[in-house]
């Protein structure tokens, strides 16, 4: 062993001053920044997914225009039912939500963050990400309209599923869907931290059971739940997704308070 220095005496007076509790970066902001520290994950990959979907739709439209027995106008109208945008990032966003608690949280807590700071900072980061997706989809919708649906009539964002060409509806749908997926992913990661795989399965079954019971109750009472969606449909769908995100976030916090971290 190469250590030759004398061992310092325990209890020797220390030159160390009282350490400030002031942190170099705000307790919440550092968590928000931590989530965006790797810009590929939060910005690059979603943009890449949207780019890929646009290219894919343009190629599919090109193929259809060459080989399908339909006029370009009919094809463009049919593309209005394209749901690619709705589903293309859902899975990825669930995984981002999961990793926020399974990978990033042990790192932050190891460096002295509290659960509360981490939770609030993470909620802010996920909301920022949802705004980013809402804005990106709205901008891409404008670009799509300006380019005559990507120069060959391929409709990707100007579609029925996310707002029928309305900017506000598209923003709300993008924001709501992102928030729901991110916060659902986060909640399942917290369930896993607290109760492992068994907990995840129980929560999935529990959620399905509650939803089925709710629908059954509404139908038995003669209420048509789908009737409520008439008028301002997209705002209402977005509202439900935001509620889902809110419930997931609340559940996450309640479970997180006593969950072991980092094992």
């Amino acid at each position: 062993m190469s250590i030759t220095q004398p061992r310092p005496v325990a209890g020797a007076p220390s030159a160390q001053p009282t350490l400030p509790t002031q942190r170099p970066v705000g307790a919440l902001m550092k968590i928000v920044r931590l989530h965006f520290a790797d810009p590929m994950r939060m910005i690059g990959v979603p943009l890449f997914i949207f780019g890929s979907i646009i290219v894919l739709c343009i190629v599919v439209m090109g193929l259809l225009r060459s080989f399908a027995p339909a006029s370009p106008a009919e094809l463009t109208e049919g593309f209005g039912y394209n749901q690619a945008t709705l589903w293309c990032f859902a899975g990825y966003f669930v995984s981002i939500g999961v990793m926020a608690y399974s990978r990033t949280m042990p790192f932050a807590l190891g460096m002295g963050s509290t659960r509360r700071q981490y939770f609030v900072g993470t909620c802010l980061a996920l909301l920022l990400e949802s705004v980013f997706i809402g804005v990106t989809m709205t901008v891409l919708l404008a670009l799509e309209k300006a380019t005559g649906h990507w120069f060959n009539g391929a409709r990707v964002f100007d579609v029925v599923a996310i707002g029928n060409g309305s900017y506000s509806s598209t923003f709300l749908m993008g924001f709501g869907l992102s928030a729901a997926m991110l916060f659902i992913g986060a909640m399942f990661a917290v369930v896993f931290l607290r109760w492992n795989q068994k907990g995840v399965i129980a929560v999935i079954f529990g959620t399905v059971a509650v939803l089925l019971a709710l629908i059954w109750l509404l139908l038995a009472a003669g209420v048509n739940p789908f009737g409520w969606f008439e008028g301002a449909t997209f705002a209402k769908i977005a509202l439900i997704m935001i509620l889902v995100a809110l419930i997931s976030a609340t559940g996450s916090w309640l479970m997180l308070r006593r969950a072991p971290v980092g094992r």
Partner: protein, 312 residues
């Protein structure tokens, strides 16, 4: 001198087993403390509770005078890299270097860069592709460069070769001398770390079996070695903690301080009286044998221990 870490009857029970069983200990501020024990002894559980990552079942845990759980003021002064520390997905070492300073008022970027160089860590390789030794080095970089007033190292040497371990011990001690702080390090490599440690806590099956300064601990026993018969004669009724035999030679670890009579007997029998090393002492407390401490009260037990030692 105030305590940086203090526990009273700290207990953690998982479903059927007690990972910590009424552990009471105190570690003074600005000391390097070794946390020793076999795998599963409760070392990581203890550090996790002290770092606010796990909840205790009962008892008290205090870090810098307060319960650390969800205590922002306490946790802000703490650094804890687990042996199996997780990092954000896709993070590279460069990301860690960029983000860690946000968490520590005392972060020393120059020292971090120096450590990266000493351990030859690649900045641009994703952390999940690093080797075991490189992962340990990342944890060491964060733990040392953070200059956190309370720093936990959880078996920080895993996968590191002897040279890298030497670098770690040297830098740890050097930096500690310049920036005193409380360091709690769990380790199996007692001999290697012995020169660093001022205080030791030994855990076995969740129970604390030793908690003292290294000086006091090693002064509490001595070794006597030579031919088996001479050793047996000189030992007399003294309490033998551990016996090692090789052919006709024997070395015993004896509790207490050697007296004039023993020195005289040793001279007469050509025996050597020596200080006990931390490693030997911990072994004598039964840590390495497993099960109960090998203190020998009855001849039958003594023979059994000897037989075990001979087999080893």
């Amino acid at each position: 001198m105030s305590l940086a870490i203090e526990t009273t009857d700290l207990t953690k029970v998982y479903r059927h087993t007690a990972a910590l069983d009424h552990v009471s200990l105190g570690i003074e501020k600005n000391t390097i403390c070794g946390l020793l024990g076999r795998n599963g002894a409760g070392k990581t559980t203890l550090m996790s509770i002290l770092a606010g990552q796990e909840l205790k079942t009962s008892g008290q845990a205090r870090v810098l005078g307060a319960d650390p759980f969800e205590n922002a003021a306490v946790l802000a002064q703490l650094s804890f890299a687990r042996e199996n520390q997780k990092y954000p997905e896709e993070f590279k070492v460069s990301h860690v270097l960029r983000t860690a300073p946000w968490f520590y008022a005392g972060w020393d970027a120059g020292f971090a860069r120096r450590l990266i160089g000493e351990f030859r860590l690649p900045l641009k390789t994703p952390i999940k592709k690093l080797s075991r030794g490189q992962l340990s080095a990342v944890a060491i970089v964060v733990g040392l460069a953070s200059r956190a007033p309370v720093t936990f190292f959880d078996e920080p040497y895993l996968g590191l070769d002897a040279t890298a371990r030497g670098i770690f011990y040297d830098l740890l001690l050097q930096d500690y001398m310049e920036h005193p702080r409380t360091i709690l390090m769990s380790t199996h490599l007692i001999d290697e770390a012995a020169n660093l440690l001022e205080h030791v806590v030994v855990l076995q099956d969740g129970r604390k079996i030793l908690d003292s300064s290294v000086e006091e601990a090693t002064a509490s026993a001595f070794t006597l070695s030579g031919t088996a018969t001479a050793v047996a004669e000189a030992t007399g009724p003294r309490k033998v903690l551990r016996t090692q035999a090789l052919g006709g030679l024997r070395s015993v670890t004896i509790a207490g301080i050697p007296d004039e009579r023993l020195y005289a007997d040793a001279r007469a029998g050509g025996l050597e009286v020596g200080p006990v090393s931390l490693q030997e002492l911990v072994a004598a407390h039964g840590l390495l044998e497993g099960g109960e401490p090998a203190a020998v009260a009855h001849p039958a037990e003594k023979d059994q221990t000897e037989a075990k030692e001979a087999l080893r």
